[in-house]
């Protein structure tokens, strides 16, 4: 629980800001703000859609509503739409950008689960049916195989990532793309 995670925020101004969060032993969070300042935050969820923060003595009662990776945040009467991508989602977004417009080079996960193994690497030529990634769900390991032959262009996941249905696991380009 003490791994530090990075988040990239898009706050609507086309500005991209990096935050870092680490869960501490006491359940609080150490947060590194985009300007590099580090603060300790005590957060509780009074209810679904609510998050209450104590930030250096300040009490912040936020209402949150998530749609995909965008949070609508209401604090007092103000409402903010904030997109937050974690590291995997950021890689995923990049992968999508790379293949935007292409046929269907993306191998997507048919299930939600944990990536336990990645069997291929970028640049490798694979055959349809080769195992690319192993995703574990409900005590069962699932081999996720290349849906077509080609060259791996992107693998936006790594072992330990949790993925959701339809998340991109790999981008497999046509062999002649090389």
């Amino acid at each position: 629980m003490s791994r530090s995670r990075e988040y990239t925020v898009f706050n609507g101004d086309d500005e991209q800001r990096s935050w870092e969060v680490e869960t501490l032993e006491n359940g609080r969070y150490r947060v590194t703000k985009p300007d590099g300042e580090t603060i300790e935050v005590d957060a509780i969820a009074p209810d679904d859609d609510r998050l209450h923060l104590l930030v250096e003595g300040k009490s912040v009662d936020a209402a949150l509503f998530r749609r995909d990776s965008t949070y609508q945040v209401q604090i007092d009467e103000q409402r903010h739409d904030i997109e937050v991508l974690n590291e995997r989602e950021l890689r995923m977004r990049a992968a999508e950008a790379v293949t935007a417009g292409g046929g269907s080079p993306q191998l997507v996960s048919p299930m939600a689960g944990l990536v336990v193994k990645v069997d291929a690497e970028v640049g490798q030529t694979v055959e349809a049916g080769d195992r690319i990634v192993v995703v574990e769900a409900m005590k069962m390991e699932n081999d996720l195989e290349a849906h077509r032959s080609g060259v791996i262009e992107e693998i936006p996941v790594q072992a330990g990532d949790s993925v959701e249905i339809d998340d991109v696991l790999a981008v497999i380009g046509e062999p002649d793309d090389e």
């Binding site: 995670r5 509780i44 998050l51 609508q72 209401q74 009467e77 103000q78 574990e136 409900m138 330990g160």
Partner: protein, 505 residues
């Protein structure tokens, strides 16, 4: 008194009417369209009848189906709320032919006030002031000037063939009149091929002020003071308050008397509202009469303590007004903010959809008349009003600060709302001093860049922490599947349990 009443409406007003009915020990019947099966007013009613598909024209506006629903359930009267059938004389007339009572004025009063020209004629006869103007086109500058001086400057010279603001010319004094008149005629002739012009009084920055009236069947008519509804955009009221900050006591009394005259002129019965334009000099002119309950009626209830819906029902049941004009209480100040599911940053476009969470403010001096609930849809088909938030204060300042406090307490997630826009209005100098007029919001929107967001970084922090908690939760779930129920993860789960108790997860 009735023992069962059908409410032929939906949303907050249906709920509000039912609350009064329940306090009168009257059973309530809701009607609903197929889109409203899960609407709040259906939940709050004792009985509910589906009257047709989503389109109002096939459900809430269907006189036959509404009457049928009343018959089936044995309702003895129908309260129409506002909108829908509330000012439909045909509906009132159809009910008169049954033994079901229409809670509202007579069909003839509805009709008289519904037709603009007829209403103006009637009002003129009753001595109610109208915006002065020449009834016919004038071609003689001297005659026109005499008329203009009679109505007082500034005046507006309007091309008879013009429209939509075209062919209008404002004249501020007698000295400029003759030239302006001839110029306007020339322009009109050139632009429309018709030189005819009228002269009308030009109202400088008028306020929209209305008077609430109550009348029983015996002709006892009283007024319940004014409401200033000048905070509006495209004739849509946004914030209303009472008293009007700029109205002198003398004008208030005069306006009240005139409103009573207007109501009496059509033998009015029940609750109604006479709308006026009020100019900077305290002159006021009849605009129209709404022969029903207004959206903004709660602010009148707050300062008088009078439950208007109960009186509507009582009067319809034949009760006599027990209140004399001089006994109508008037305490403090009240304002109402209409909370809409709309996007002020996108031309106030409706933002229908799922209200994931709605939490209304509470505590002293706050009244919330909501039409929805957490988990409900704001349907596409109808007015996207979420709630009417009303505050009362010993004086205007207290009502205003209560409103600011209440708006900050209000939580609505899922749909966009105008909560922040309201706060912006409330903190605008023109609103704070009460001098605002009907052009205030358009002016404000022109000046304005966008909403100020002082909480931006905190909001980002909250979003990032929420994303982090979600990421860890997902990882935990996945991790748990990995390690099976009896693995060494137990202690981690225990500590998770402890955190959960502390709502840390």
């Amino acid at each position: 008194m009735f023992s069962k009443v059908l409410v032929a409406n939906r949303g907050e007003i249906a709920v509000r009417v039912m609350r009064s009915l329940k306090e009168m020990d009257i059973e309530t019947v809701a009607v609903f369209s197929e889109a409203d099966r899960s609407a709040l007013h259906v939940r709050k009613a004792d009985e509910a009848v589906c009257v047709g598909p989503a389109a109002s024209s096939e459900s809430y506006l269907r006189i036959d189906k509404i009457i049928e629903a009343a018959r089936t359930t044995g309702a003895e009267a129908i309260h129409p709320g506002y909108g829908f059938l509330s000012e439909n004389a045909e509906f009132a007339r159809a009910l008169n032919e049954t033994d079901i009572t229409f809670i509202g004025p007579s069909p003839s009063a509805i009709e008289a006030m519904g037709e603009k020209t007829r209403a103006r004629e009637l009002m003129e006869q009753a001595g109610v002031p109208l915006v002065p103007g020449t009834p016919e086109a004038i071609d003689d500058a001297t005659v026109a000037l005499a008329e203009a001086e009679k109505m007082g400057f500034p005046v507006l010279i309007k091309a008879a063939a013009g429209g939509g603001g075209k062919g209008m010319r404002r004249v501020n004094s007698a000295t400029e009149f003759a030239n302006a008149f001839e110029a306007a005629r020339r322009e009109a002739s050139g632009a429309f091929g018709n030189a005819d012009v009228y002269v009308e009084k030009f109202l400088v920055n008028p306020k929209h002020v209305e008077i609430q009236i109550l009348a029983d069947r015996e002709g006892n008519t009283i007024h319940l003071f004014e409401r200033d509804c000048s905070v509006q955009r495209r004739h849509q009221k946004i914030i209303e308050e009472t008293p009007c900050a700029t109205l002198s006591e003398e004008t208030r009394q005069k306006m009240g008397q005139v409103a009573v005259q207007a109501a009496e002129a059509v033998d009015y019965e029940g609750a109604g509202t006479v709308e006026f334009l009020l100019d900077a000099e305290g002159n006021f002119y009849f605009l129209e009469m709404n022969t029903r309950l207004q959206v903004e009626h709660p602010i009148t209830e707050m300062i008088t303590g009078i439950d208007l819906v109960k009186w509507q029902v009582g009067i319809a049941a034949g009760e006599t007004l027990s209140l004399q004009q001089e006994d109508v209480p008037r305490n403090g100040a009240a304002m109402e903010c209409r909370i809409y599911a709309e996007d002020p940053e996108n031309e106030f476009r409706p933002s229908p959809g799922l209200v994931s969470r709605i939490e209304a403010p509470a505590g002293p001096g706050v009244r919330d008349d909501a039409g929805t609930y957490s988990g409900a849809e704001v349907p596409l088909e109808y007015d996207p009003m979420v709630s009417k938030l009303v505050t009362w204060g010993e004086d205007r300042t207290e009502a205003l600060w209560r409103m600011k406090r209440a708006l900050r307490e209000y939580v609505v997630t899922g749909v966009k709302t105008n909560l922040q826009f309201h706060l912006e209005v409330l903190e605008h100098p023109e609103f704070v001093d009460g001098s605002y007029d009907t052009q205030f919001v358009p002016r404000m929107m022109e000046e304005r860049g966008g909403p100020e967001k002082s909480n931006g970084e905190l909001a980002e922090l909250a979003a990032v922490v929420a994303a982090h908690r979600r990421a860890e939760e997902l990882a935990r779930k996945a991790g748990n599947h990995n390690s099976g129920p009896n693995s060494s993860s137990t202690s981690r789960w225990k500590s998770l349990g402890r955190y959960r108790q502390l709502k840390r997860f």
